[in-house]
Amino acid sequence: MLVITALTVVRTASLFAVVMLSGVFSLLSALLLVTLDAVDVAFTEAAVGAGISTVLMLSTLALTSRHERPSKLSPVVPLFVVLVTGAALFYGTLDMPNFGSADAPAMLHVYPEYMERSQHEIGVPNVVTGILASYRGYDTLGETAVVFTAGVGVLMLLSGLRRRREDDEDDDGENQRGSG
């Protein structure tokens, strides 16, 4: 299903349909994440991928155009690049442990340590929250800073800051549509 959705995105020219399909893709992947036991991640993916990013993309479409121009580039070169990359990645997976095996390298050292220590050091039932906010507190602080920076960046790109500058210079009245 995921593959079908992704391939439909390649074929579709209507951008509205593409954005909707990307929402569908996110929702399907959230379902898959639940079956992989990552409930927190699935929750986030459903809220972000199917919710916020679809809304943002739709509002971008409302400000731009809805149809894709047919591409004049030949698909041979991209296809070649994609196939080579895919083959390299495929070769890389041959050394990977089997899916779901409990004796994979990732399960032997760090994982039991975290599970053991978070029981008496943090005392929070949801291990993911415990690691996220406490053991990896710096990480999450950085993440919050990234979100903050992105928000400031969007505001600077789209809000009235530019309009004010243009009012002084008084050029190019076409771009003064924004109300900030």
Partner: protein, 146 residues
């Protein structure tokens, strides 16, 4: 969108529920899936839904842009401030055991709650601010064309 009666009524019913759910996800994040980030997104969705169905002006009456911009910074401040407080209590930066030295587990609990609140506030602010920035521009395509 003045003619979509059903949408308007259902939205009015849903907005309160969504905000309540966001608060549940926020403060129950250490027992069940969820946390500051998810709560922030859900909270922002409530306002965005209101803005989409009614109008940008009406949602900005409830949640004015200057407040949103303050919230964006406030969240990061809460998070970083928690670290500074634990620094002043003689512990490492972001070591929540500092809040209740005799029982570090409880301190961890409080610390996680506060920090998640900071994340939630920032994410709500940023998402709503981004939505305001996008919706504040005049669309090139009119409503009927969709």
């Amino acid at each position: 969108m003045h003619h979509h009666l059903i949408l308007r009524v259902v939205t009015k019913l849903l907005v309160g529920t969504i905000i309540l759910y966001a608060l549940y996800v926020q403060f129950h994040g250490d027992y069940s899936p969820g946390g500051g980030f998810q709560a922030g997104v859900i909270m922002a969705v409530a306002f965005i839904l209101y803005g989409v169905v009614f109008s940008l002006a009406s949602v900005q009456q409830v949640f004015p842009p200057w407040l949103v911009h303050k919230l964006v910074a406030l969240g990061v401040l809460i998070y970083a401030g928690t670290g500074v407080v634990s620094l002043f209590l003689g512990y490492n930066y972001l070591d929540y055991g500092a809040f209740t030295p005799h029982h570090p587990e409880h301190g961890q609990h409080y610390g996680i709650l506060v920090v998640e609140l900071g994340v939630g506030v920032t994410v709500t602010g940023v998402m709503v601010a981004i939505y305001y920035a996008f919706a504040g521009r005049t669309p090139v395509i009119s409503d009927e064309e969709w």
